[in-house]
């Protein structure tokens, strides 16, 4: 059950309000922005799916280094191509909203940082994460020596069961110690 034409049905609206952390205004705004991304003919489709390249034109996601991972995590398509339906879009906004709990945010943050989708953050994931954080340009990247030291330090600090990877519980343990995470893991339309 998706959206019909350009209007959101009233019972869908109340259902979305109950199941996500978004308020009514936020859901309506999301619907408006989503329909703007569709072509004329796609708008009459019952459950349109927007490809990833179009989603990435949104100003809120355009410059974010994690934009492709975000789309892939929230996408429900079988091809894993990062395309989003309206409900996927609502999921995205709900996880990044003001009232989402720390647990939901840390869960999705973990999945976004897990570049190879194996359920833990191993060395390769951590390296890609640090490279995303420090940017594209050469002068801001860490040298390989620094990278190795950094990854070792991270694993020393956060890998409690010493298996060489950071799993979800260990990640959530690290996140819970930082009070700024909830306010920085936000995207508002």
């Amino acid at each position: 059950m998706g959206t019909t034409a350009s209007q959101l049905a009233k019972d869908s609206l109340s259902e979305y309000q109950e199941l996500t952390f978004l308020t009514k205004q936020e859901i309506l705004l999301a619907h408006r922005r989503f329909t703007e991304l569709l072509d004329r003919d796609e708008r009459n489709h019952p459950n349109p799916r927007v490809p990833m390249e179009v989603i990435l034109t949104l100003p809120e996601l355009k410059s974010n280094p994690f934009k492709t991972r975000i789309c892939q995590v929230f996408s429900t398509s079988e091809d894993k191509d990062g395309s989003l339906t309206f409900e996927d879009f609502l999921d995205l906004l709900s996880a990044f909203s003001d009232s989402a709990t720390l647990e939901i945010k840390s869960h999705y943050a973990f999945r976004i940082f897990d570049f190879d989708d194996d359920g833990t953050l191993d060395c390769g994931d951590l390296e890609k994460l640090v490279n995303c954080l420090t940017g594209e340009t050469e002068d801001t990247r860490l040298s390989s020596e620094e990278m190795r030291q950094l990854i070792n330090n991270i694993l020393d600090e956060s890998d409690i069961d010493k298996d060489g990877t950071v799993n979800l519980s260990e990640f959530q343990h690290v996140i819970s110690r930082s009070p700024d995470f909830v306010s920085s893991f936000k995207i508002v339309l």
């Binding site: 996500t20 979800l168 700024d180």
Partner: protein, 815 residues
Amino acid sequence: LQQSGLFGPNVPQKEDSEYGQQGSPADENVVHDSFSQLIAEQSQNEGLSDAIELQHLQGNPDDKGRDNVAYLSPSENRDRWSSATLKILSSMPSRTIGRSRGAIISQYYNRTTELRRRTQKRASIKDFSRSARPSIRGYGVEVDTTDSAEKKQERLVKNLQDLSAVDRMRMLKEMPLNLSEKKDLRRLTLEMTKRTRSSSNLPCCSYLKFQIILALRHSWYSCLSFLHSLQLWQMPLKRVSGRFGSGVLSYFLFLKTLLFFNVFLFLVLGSFLVFPQAVYLPELPESRTPFTGLELLTGGGYFSNTLLYYGYYSNHTLPNCPKNNSTRPECDSRSLSYNMPLAYFFTIGLSFFITCIILVYSMSKSFGQSFRIDKSNGMLAMKVFCSWDFKVIKRSSVKLLSENICTQLKELLGDTHHRLVSNTILDKLIKLLIHGLSWTLCLGATAGCVAGIYCFSDYMHKKVRLSGDPGLLKEASLLALPVLVSFINLMLPILFQLTAWMEKYNSPSLRTFVSLSRNLILKVSVLGVLCFHWLKRVAGSANDDKTFKCWESFVGQDLYRFLVIDFIFSLLDTLFGELLWRLFSDKVLKRNRRPGFDIAKNVLDLIYGQTLAWYRPCCLGLLFTPLLPAVQILKLLLLFYIKMSSVMMNCQAPSRPYRVSQMTTIFITLLCFPSFLGSSVCVTYTMWRLPSSGSCDPFRGNKTMIQAGKQRIAELVDENRSLSFLADAHTYLVENPLFLFVGAAIFLWIVIYFQSQVVDGQRKIIALLQEQIENEGEDKKFLITRLQSVHERKRTPARNLPSQVSLWIAERRAC
């Protein structure tokens, strides 16, 4: 883990009972023997020797057809796992919870079960079998790996149905599944609920209760969405956060909070004080000075006989009907009477208490969020996982943020090296000298300026008393003191910044704290000397001079002047200071970077302004100028737009890290403690000790304000015997403020002590749990290597049996 699995289905029961008889695992040899005995038995059964304990596998070059291996950990002992092991590893619960739907459903099934169990009676502990792992005793961990996805979902739905509606909705919201699955779960739950409800006859009262709860919830949602639609300044705040990040955003959010506080105060005061007085205007004296433009600045002249000031408010019960004058329309016996002094007293007291409660609550909440129980020094992991600010949208700001993070990471990494750099004695001495010098400079400058204000205020006071009738020049000269104070407030922080440049600090947060404390000392001392000036000098000279006949109004006017001049100066500073600095750095220094927005300084300025309007002389301010919140609201609104445009034009994102929640906690604490506490002291002093002037306030005719209250309460008690307890309470609590403060202090101390004990206990538990998790990790490694060795054994059947046995014996000897 207890019984099943790894050692094969034919585990003899005596393993458990053996262990049970032998008792404590401290007897390591015993345990060790029983396991190896088990291994020996199993090897006999299977015809293989499984006698190898934890052993690192060597590369076996003659083993062809080796599976694809992968490195599990970057440690020196490279353990190679075969793909079968990898498959098992990847389906371990600790890994699947991060990504698989079925795992999430079973996790939430366990949670809902726990939730239900909390409301039901707990099963007694003797019902659970003894196990080698006391940690999972009593937790009914169900083995769910064999269930299919549908069955798991069914059980989850059943659990959800048994929860209350509120819990169910909260559970559904918190599940990290996608929306279509949540909709399915909800639909199934509702269907099941309908079915069970139609089958059972609910008593009518609980059905009614259910409907009421539904209606309340619906109205709560609509109320929330209404509040959200009123969101003030949403677009500008989004632009700021998109460009500058969370740090600068926190300044504007702080401004918004202060605005709402002021609106609340204004509504309270307005509805109880201003509105009744405005409806029943008192008679105006004939000699009323005409309105000239200067009044907006000085607050005197035309404004002195308006609603703005305390002196205007009547001291009688409204409507003020003299006995012999019956021509006024509102003096009918049917009209309501409104006791003005009592209303004044209680309204101010009420708003005072409510503000106190709101402040303490927000301070404790913010403190609780930023306080970390776990004292481990893990900064690096936290920096990597939590420092990306997803609100930042603009490309250049994203680049800046990346650079910022890179610098921080390099600093933290290099920190371990730098600590080893030796600090010679000479270096330390020089550093100490420089610090001492700058502190002396700052404190000396502060003391000098404070003394200057003291002398100047004395001089102005005498001048005002000695001069004749009020004229335009005299009004303007009253502005001199506020101008001086604002000028000092502007110039000294620049001096502080200059001295901070020559000092070198170990960490940026230390630098921020030092600058914050210096600014704080300046502002506190300035406010202190002003308070002294108002309360002692001005009030004390009430009897000497007719200008100060109504000293409360005079003080109110002075406060108004301070507020307005402070606002004008901050306007000038923003417009010219930041603009000039940007032009200077662009044209002269030719730097590409714009100046950063100094968050701490700006927030401190906000707090200072708020203090003037509210606290310190503030409740004095409220006392003397009930419309002061309205003035403050206007000022904050204008300040918001001006600061916003200035920041957009002139500044760039901060290049130094800014810990938002910690700083917000500090600012709210500053708003609460020096400001509010200081003001309560002042208010107490005013109400209890100062004689009110005879002529112009709601408490005319009484010695002090508190006696007015006492008199009123005595009157009330006379009318109504049952309220006599009020008089007693008044005597004990209000007359003896020391009793109140001491009692509150003891109570607070007890609460704090209790909480600190709780925190200590929690720290100990965290350390224990961490140790336990490490042990579990060791167990996991052990089991995985065993699994790997079993797999290897199966692939290379009994080839190296004699060598392995001798290896085992050698190892046993070595242990």
